[in-house]
Structure formats: structure tokens, C-alpha cells
């Protein structure tokens, strides 16, 4: 480490070369982030949350079959590595004639993942809302769906924002795994550039900084949402 640094600092040309590479690779990396990493994150999170709400409702429903389906789904997804799930979808399914492009395969895999993890968060949030809220809604004549949509989920959302933000930020970072099923997202871009010029440290560090910046901005947005939703509690 020390030698690497002293070598560079002693050699202005080397410094110039690294700066050039850092600058010229910046746009391709950002492209990877804008065209793949971020869309992959947002689309997967969107479908994942829908799946998560449905799964949470299945697990707190009174129907045994629904409960069991929800449980098995969550257990399978949480009990197997994400990378293995992606490989099954992308490299495994073609064996039985199901061929999915890299991007949709990644969306599919990440959505299933978010669905399973977030369903636990949402289930706990729904169950944390006092029973009196359900009862008050029922006594003014609201049915199950109305109560859920108007009374329970809005309150559960506020409780779930911090843990769901964690899920979201994990997802941003997990999308780097999509590089292994040939999605040209940011990390794969970094790999491609580095394998041409051998500046692995530089490029992977640059990618890391961009990941960190994205997550940092997201956590600022999280603070704002929490603040907005917190307006009705003392």
C-alpha cells in the first residue's frame, strides 16, 4: 500500500494517467448507474413492495392455505443465496426452455427478494397497529379492505419506513450481483474498463464511491419522508 502510494506520488505522469482514466471512466460508470443500477433498483423495489404487501396480508389472513403459501415463499427466498436465485433464473431456466433476458431476469430475482424480506417488515408493522383501530373502523361500518387501505396501512407505512429504507439501500448494493448474469450495470462497467487497463483499485474504488453517493442521497430522502409522515405523532 505504502509502496504503491510513494511510487505514484514520485511519478507525475502516473498521476496524470490515473486522473485521466478516472475522468474518462466516470461517464460510462454513471451510465451504468443511470441506465441499469437505478432502474433495476426502482423497478424491483416497486414490484417487490406489491408482492410484500400481498404476502404480509396472506400471512395474517385467517386462511390456512394462504398462510402456508406465504410462509413457504418467505422461507425459500430467505433461506437461499440471492446469487444462487439469480443463477437459477438466468442460467438454470433455459435448460427447461425458459429463456429470460438479463435485465428482466434480474428484476424478477430482486423483486422476489424484496417481496420476501419486506413482507416481514410490513407484517410486523400491520400487527403493531392497536386492535382498537380495527374495531373503531368496524364500528363506523368500514369493511376489511376499507379499514386496511384507509386506517391500517397508512399507519403501518410510517412504522415501516426506516426498516424498508434499509431494504432499499441493500437492494442498491445487491444490484451489483446482476453483473454476474451479464447485466451491464455499474459494477460490470467497472470490471470491463479495469480488465482493459488493469487499474482495478482505481475503478472499483470509483464504483464504490458512486454507490456510496447514491445511498447517501437516498438516506437524505428517507429522512424527509420520515419527517413528513411523522407529522401526526407528538
Amino acid at each position: 500500500m505504502k509502496m504503491y502510494l510513494t511510487n505514484i506520488l514520485a511519478d507525475p505522469e502516473k498521476i496524470q494517467r490515473l486522473l485521466d482514466i478516472a475522468l474518462t471512466s466516470l461517464w460510462p460508470l454513471l451510465e451504468g448507474a443511470l441506465y441499469y443500477t437505478l432502474p433495476l433498483t426502482f423497478i424491483s423495489f416497486f414490484f417487490g413492495i406489491i408482492l410484500a404487501v400481498l404476502t404480509a396480508l396472506a400471512r395474517i389472513s385467517t386462511s390456512k392455505p394462504l398462510q402456508i403459501i406465504g410462509r413457504i415463499y418467505v422461507s425459500v427466498i430467505r433461506g437461499t443465496p440471492l446469487l444462487v436465485q439469480l443463477f437459477i433464473l438466468f442460467f438454470g431456466l433455459p435448460t427447461v426452455g425458459i429463456v429470460i433476458d438479463p435485465f428482466p431476469a434480474a428484476v424478477f430475482g430482486f423483486s422476489l427478494n424484496v417481496g420476501a424480506y419486506a413482507s416481514e417488515v410490513i407484517r410486523a408493522a400491520i400487527q403493531s397497529i392497536p386492535k382498537g383501530q380495527w374495531e373503531a373502523a368496524h364500528t363506523i361500518g368500514m369493511n376489511y379492505t376499507q379499514t386496511l387501505r384507509r386506517i391500517i396501512l397508512p399507519q403501518a407505512t410510517r412504522v415501516s419506513i426506516p426498516p424498508l429504507s434499509n431494504t432499499f439501500i441493500s437492494l442498491v448494493k445487491d444490484t451489483s450481483l446482476a453483473s454476474l448474469i451479464l447485466v451491464t450495470e455499474m459494477f460490470r462497467k467497472a470490471q470491463e474498463i479495469a480488465s482493459a487497463n488493469y487499474e482495478f483499485l482505481l475503478l472499483y474504488t470509483e464504483a464504490a464511491i458512486i454507490y456510496w453517493l447514491i445511498c447517501f442521497i437516498l438516506s437524505l430522502i428517507q429522512d424527509r419522508i420520515e419527517h413528513r409522515l411523522g407529522r401526526y405523532v407528538a
Partner: protein, 244 residues
Amino acid sequence: MISIKGLYKKFGELEVLKGIDLEVNKGEVVVVIGPSGSGKTTLLRCLNILEVPTAGSITLNGHTADFSKQVAKNEINYFRSETGMVFQNYNLFPHKTALENVMEGPVIVKKEPKDVARKKAVSLLNKVGLGDKFDFYPFQLSGGQQQRVGIARALALEPKVMLFDEPTSALDPELVGEVLQVMKDLANEGMTMVVVTHEMRFAQDAADEVIFIDEGKVIERNKPSELFTNPKEERTRQFLNLIL
């Protein structure tokens, strides 16, 4: 108006209501008293089928729910629409303002146009003395104010019967009066009410009949003046000694 016949309620092995018979006429105010755990809350919750009784029947306005059979959903809906419930701990919706709490039922359940529902909510909040608190969230209101919003929320659905479950027992003493006043006004307007409360003053002033319940049975019923000063049953006497 209400006729309860042979009402039983079991929670698993625990028999909480053991054959309650009760009549409430239109415009009557019935106060229910009894020791903690005697089944008062359960009785009120059975009246709007928040709990499904194990046996017996309730007739409300000519509609009979017979609990020896499965109760139909529209029968439950009828009981819910004709009764308003006020809870001990208010159970307001914390993410909605006072006005939104009151409008929720009319707009979502009765599909009333928003402006109509808003007008009604405004006049109900005025009526319970909260004309200056429309846009306050529950956490910004005192317990007494929250409970009055709770009453307005129940009234917004224009129920035929109002059920109160110890509406003042969670309140600081200085806030009890404002809630009882709203209830007395309601009684004077001719609302039919079943009120679980240990506020003897309210019972004296507003009740047509007081019912003493113990261990899931009606022990004694009478006019308030009679029951409080001259109880016939030993158990009633003991209970009154404890609370008066």
C-alpha cells in the same frame, strides 16, 4: 328498540355472559354498572356484534340476529350502521384530523359527497364544543377533547342507538365534566343510549334505568334513585358501598 334475549358469550372455556335479558325503549338511557370483569364491555360489544355471542338473540328496530345460527354479513352490517360506539380509550384515527375522523364514516362507508359530509362534521364538532379544533390531530387534543371527537365520529353515521364503554374512565378528573355534558345533551335530545359508567351523578341525572351486572348476569335493575338508595340485592349493596 333493543331487545336482548338469553344472551350468552363464551371465550373458549370462559363463560362471560350467562343469559342476559334486557329491553331498551326508544329514547331511553340505560346505565350499566358492575365490578371489573363482570362482562359490561362484552355486552356492549355484542350489541354491535364486534363480538359474536355464543347463544341468544338481539332484536334491533325489528331486525333480529339469532346467534344459534351463523349471523349473515348484512345482518352484522345492519347492527353496525344502527349503533354508534364510544370507546374507553377513544380509538381515534391518529393520522387523521378531528374533521377527517368525523368525515371518514360518511364519506367512505355511506359514500356521501365530501362537501355534505364536511358540513355535517363541522356542525357535529361545533355541537360537542370543538368548533376551533377541526384541523387538530388527536395527539394535539386533550383526552376530553379526543373523546368528544369520538362521540362526534359515532354520531356522524346517524345511529339509532349510542353505546358508551366507560367513556370518562381514562380521563383526568377535571376533563370528565365536559364529556358527560355532551352525553347529557344527547340524552335530552332523545337519543337511545346504553352507557357503561361509574359516574353516579350522570346516572342520577340522565338515566331512566340502572342495571347492575355481576359475573355475566343481570342482578338488579331499577330507576337510579331506587337502585342507589334502596338496593334490593345484597350484592348490589356491597358493590355500591365500594364505589359510592
